[in-house]
């Protein structure tokens, strides 16, 4: 008798919930557009968020459903991916301007003054918590490589001089390193950017001179020397207008004028990075 009632109860309960679930699944199921999954398959799955959406799936959903979302937002995927998305969604593909990370500091141990020896956790955030790090300059790269461990594309490494080096081949311009850096020392620049500022300091000239041999002292010689006004000095630091610089510049006088060599140049085809010195040669 008990055996029978056990069987009955279990069958009834099981059947009830089974049917309920089957009913709910057929009536309430959310139909996802198969196109979303097709687009998601094309994306590189770095989940870096460079497109501005929450992960690759978020971008796939947005690009399929919203006609205003362009197909070229996936920076890691570059042109190949945007072409595929354009083919899948029927949108027009416009090539995106490729950006890469650039470290705005050249303050290696030999150039920039250190005020104490840091022996804590090997993370830039932790070092920054201790009086803003061990550099005399409060704007410079701490060199502990939080950006290196953050990069999902293996594009950053610590060079022999202790500064992070960007591999322009591998860098996709997603900006994860820029966001993790406590000093905001990384900036995204066009991959073809010929002139880059290798300093982040907003200190006055005299302070910079005391702290670092290669810092920008805000002397404005570059601003005055540039015939196309592609460079200006704000808050004691040179800022380059890359659009002007790439389009009009034929001869970079600013590099020669810079008294502290905090401007780096890759003019006239000389665009290889010297990993050892972290300088453009």
């Amino acid at each position: 008798m008990i055996a029978i009632s056990i069987v009955i109860i279990l069958v009834v309960v099981g059947a009830f919930f089974g049917l309920l679930l089957a009913f709910a699944n057929s009536k309430l199921a959310v139909k996802t557009d198969p196109l979303v999954h097709a687009v998601d398959d094309v994306l590189p799955k770095g989940q870096c968020g460079a497109c501005g959406f929450a992960g690759c799936m978020g971008y796939a959903e947005a690009v399929v459903k919203d006609p205003d979302v362009p197909v070229n937002l996936c920076l890691p995927g570059k042109d190949a991916v945007s072409q595929k998305i354009a083919r899948l969604t029927g949108k027009i593909n416009a090539p995106a301007k490729r950006l890469i990370a650039h470290v705005k500091c050249a303050g290696t141990a030999e150039h920039a003054l250190r005020i104490f020896e840091y022996r804590g956790v090997r993370k830039c955030v932790s070092a920054n918590l201790l009086q803003g790090g061990n550099m005399a300059c409060k704007f410079g790269c701490l060199g502990l490589g939080s950006c290196v461990s953050e990069c999902v594309f293996d594009a950053l490494s610590i060079g022999r001089n202790g500064m992070p080096v960007v591999n322009p081949e591998k860098c996709t311009g997603c900006g994860k390193c820029k966001n993790v850096c406590p000093k905001n020392v990384i900036e995204m620049v066009p991959v073809t950017a010929a002139i880059r500022v290798a300093c982040n300091s907003q200190d006055k000239g005299a302070t910079v001179r005391r702290n670092c041999k290669v810092g920008c002292i805000g002397c404005k010689l570059c601003e005055k020397s540039c015939p196309h006004s592609g460079i200006r000095v704000e808050n004691n630091i040179a800022i380059i207008n890359h659009a002007v610089c790439l389009e009009k510049c034929t001869e970079a006088v600013c590099i020669a004028k810079c008294p502290t060599k905090s401007l780096q140049g890759a003019v006239l085809g000389l665009d290889k990075v010297d990993v050892v010195s972290n300088r453009w040669i």
């Binding site: 008990i2 009632s5 056990i6 109860i9 279990l10 309960v13 099981g14 919930f17 089974g18 309920l20 679930l21 709910a24 699944n25 309430l28 199921a29 959310v30 804590g120 956790v121 993370k123 955030v125 932790s126 918590l129």
Partner: protein, 196 residues
């Protein structure tokens, strides 16, 4: 007055004195799995509270109207497993359809909840103690809040531990177990404050 007093004691007991994670050691897999960041532990806590309160109502009804009249109390565990697992599945379908934003926050956690021991343990304890409807509900909400409290405490500690200089062998789960032990010890200090 005395009824309200009883419910309050039951609630506080479930939250602090008989905290399900830290003194009864239920739901430990989620406790260690999800406590890495504060955000996800808050979402998980919300999911647990709602799932536990609704499933305790359902299991109370089944226990009271089906199992007890037929004298089949020994079937509790297996029936509760079926009920809770299918209820969570149903909840997932409904939330996905009607509250897509909530689903984005809850999504994976709901599935983690489905077969968790704390969600099964609380209805079983309710049935064991012969709680009435209100008491079951209060106990379920209390233990859900207690679980969230433990999870949030743990997540806050673990977020700080990320930046601490911990000996290499203890990084990760090792150090986390030690912290959990200390938290449990601290919660032992509450024991006996409310008579059972």
């Amino acid at each position: 007055m005395s009824a309200l007093h009883d419910y309050f004691l039951l609630f506080m007991g479930a939250v602090i004195v008989n905290n399900y994670v830290l003194t009864r050691f239920l739901g430990l897999c989620i406790f260690f799995g999800v406590s890495k960041s504060l955000n996800s532990s808050v979402s998980m806590g919300m999911a647990i509270v709602s799932v536990m309160s609704i499933s305790s109502i359902m299991t109370w009804a089944i226990n009271h109207f089906v199992l007890q009249p037929f004298g089949l109390d020994f079937l509790r565990t297996i029936v509760f497993v079926i009920v809770i697992a299918s209820f969570v599945q149903l909840l997932e379908i409904v939330v996905k359809r009607f509250l897509p934003n909530l689903y984005k926050i809850w999504g994976i956690y709901l599935l983690l909840v489905a077969t968790n021991c704390i969600v099964l343990g609380v209805p079983l304890i309710n049935a064991e103690e012969n709680f009435n409807f209100m008491k079951s509900l209060v106990n379920a909400i209390g233990s859900g809040v207690g679980f969230s409290l433990a999870l949030i405490l743990m997540a806050s500690v673990r977020e700080k531990m990320e930046y601490a200089n911990i000996p290499k062998p203890l990084r990760g789960l090792g150090g986390t177990f030690i912290v959990a032990g200390m938290l449990a010890l601290a919660f032992q200090g509450f024991s006996g404050m409310i008579p059972k």
